[in-house]
Amino acid sequence: MTVHEKLSMAQALNRALRDAMTEDPTVVVFGEDVGPLGGVFRITDGLTADFGEDRCFDTPLAESGIVGVAVGMAMNGMRPVVEMQFDAFAYPAFEQIVSHVAKMRNRTRGRVALPMVIRIPYAGGIGGVEHHCDSSEAYYAHTPGLHVVTPSSATDAYALLREAIASPDPVVFLEPKKLYWSKEEVELGSRPPAIGRAVVRREGTDATLIAYGPGVPIALEAAEVADREGRSLQVVDLRSIVPFDDETVCAAVRSTGRAVVVAEAAGFASVSSEIVARVTERCFHSLAAPIRRVTGFDIPYPPPKYEHLHLPGVDRVLDAVDTLQWEDS
């Protein structure tokens, strides 16, 4: 059965939590302000009222405690879905995430799995003050043992979160907060697997833009503008950073022979670096030009009044596309 509803990404995430909690009594949601308030972004709106305090509850204000307790609950038959209030406020939990969440399966030779989800609103573009806009994906993606996913649409948000909750492995679920309020028709029924699968968001023949999460709308807009200027750009949305879908990404790049990676995070030692390395290793002979990256600068996320100078925008993407050694220019 396929149900369609017009939902924002925030509502789609709420729906995913609800549906998972309804289907599986071991799914529990906890974190800071996720109870009666419904989370500062309202992702957990109404869950305590509808499922009771045992299923969705406010914890003391301590991220290491939240993730550490989730580890214990996952060891003992539950599927915790925890919320970190903002990207930078997950850092107190870093020790738990890197040393335990990521490694438990490996340390115990597969005997102890941690089916848990760490939801993190991340990235900028909302005029937030310091510590509220970090693109922290590289820290997690660099840590073996964690799945790292990030939706760019309400439909994917629903599908990815359902899959993340069902996953036998821990998933760091990165929610681009600037996209929380964008609405679309969401397909709630049948869901083709999304973790580990990139998708082509827009067909194009001249070059491929590779993006994920908050970078996707920028890539799509750039493709739109390029189209009016007579250049056909394909857009690939990773959705899943780990596992990485080499097949879809490489097939896309081979089809055009040129590529630009678009990401909000600082470029140095980043997910975008990894994408360029992987694609170059696999597609070198199909490339007409070196792959370019359009990323945030290698600086701490700047104050609101500087955000527009820092964030990769359509012009920066199109400038990069222009440098891809076009014979005719």
């Binding site: 800071e32 500062v40 005029g127 600086i299 012009d315």
Partner: protein, 357 residues
């Protein structure tokens, strides 16, 4: 090590010297601060309230991105700064803009973060006020470090470290108190217990009899004080500062107060508390109380508050053109070659945009 923990425990009820009606509390067991000290506190309280309300209005006018107000908590804000000497340090959180101002930071600079022009708007060494800390409790170990360094350097510095009730649940709170105790660092930890951490009430934060009781586990004396009673705060915090200065080590003070407004303008407090709960605290307002006790002519204080509000309006209504070079200037002592390249790239981009018109 002493087995006797009793001297570390706080009093059964918060220390109070002036009741909500402005009457001296009988048998308070402590002397009221002198008249001049209280007058100075009242003057600052009136400015503090004006500053809070001006900032709040500026959010509505779109001049500030966000403002976590200390409306109702002004006694804590003002006294935390007033009990310090020039060479001391203050470590504020995002809610403690008013405390930073009381310490001497220009209110426009104090609001830079929330206006969005830069992160920290002031020079932390000028008035010895650390940058606003947003990641909860992370400033507390820094406060201990500054205090310990001061001791190693033979300075008589005391550090006032501020924290909210919610922040006491973080690991850094525990680590800071333990370090301070073991190092006998001259730090006064002041918890403003305003009963909420965004939507989460204190009862969900701790099962301890009071937050001040947390001191005993570290070997730190704890005390509770009525956070809306400036006189009691002056007495309790003043004594804690002097003891720290005399080498008696850290102390933990819990000031019981109330967050009268939403967490920030972005928060909807009606989702988790009743208007009546807030209403009950109106009668305990810190300014009304001190004002009723002192019964002075406040005209000059109000004029001073208006001058500060005007200064804030002028400052915040001024648009500052962002300087792109600033993005790269202070990431390292010397920008890396990569940052210089990125700065050039941005300059080039902006020049081309400018040329296009």
């Amino acid at each position: 090590m002493t087995g006797d923990a009793d001297h570390l425990l706080p009093s059964d009820t918060p220390v109070a010297l002036i009741d909500p009606y402005g009457n001296p509390v009988a048998d308070a067991g402590r002397a009221l601060p002198d008249e001049a000290t209280l007058q100075r506190a009242l003057a600052s309280l009136i400015t503090a309230r004006r500053l809070n309300d001006q900032a709040y209005a500026l959010v509505r006018q779109g001049r500030l991105a966000v403002y976590p107000s200390s409306h109702g908590q002004e006694a804590c804000q003002v006294v935390a700064a007033q009990v310090l000497a020039d060479g001391d340090w203050l470590f504020p959180t995002y809610r403690d803009t008013v405390a930073a101002v009381e310490r001497g930071v220009d209110p426009v600079e104090a609001l830079t973060l929330l206006k969005g022009d830069w992160h920290c708007g002031w020079d932390p060494y000028e008035h010895r006020v650390a940058p606003h800390a947003t990641p909860l409790a992370t400033q507390l170990p820094h406060a201990v470090g500054v205090a310990h360094a001061a001791r190693l350097r033979g300075e008589k510095t005391v550090v006032m470290a501020l924290c909210g009730d919610g922040g006491t649940s973080e690991g850094d709170f525990h680590e800071a108190l333990n370090f301070a105790a073991v190092l006998r660092a001259p730090v006064v930890f002041l918890i403003q217990n305003n009963e909420y951490a965004i939507s989460v009430p204190l009862a969900r934060q701790t099962a301890a009899p009071s937050l001040a009781h947390k001191g005993v586990g570290y070997g730190i004396p704890g005390e509770r004080v009525d956070g809306n009673d400036a006189a009691a705060l002056l007495s309790v915090l003043g004594e804690a500062v002097e003891r720290a200065r005399a080498g008696e080590g850290p102390q933990l003070i819990e000031a019981h107060t109330y967050r009268m407004q939403a967490h920030t303008n972005a928060d909807d407090a009606t989702r988790y508390r009743n208007a009546e709960d807030v209403e009950a605290w109106v009668a305990r307002d810190p300014i009304v109380r001190l004002s009723a006790y002192l019964k002075t002519d406040e005209t000059a204080f109000r004029e001073q508050a208006e001058r500060v509000a005007e200064h804030v309006r002028d400052g915040l209504n001024r648009d500052i053109e962002p300087d792109p070079a600033l993005l790269f200037a202070h990431v390292y002592a010397t920008p890396t070659p990569q940052l210089r390249e990125q700065a050039d790239q941005l300059t080039d981009e902006l020049e081309r945009e400018g040329a296009l018109g």
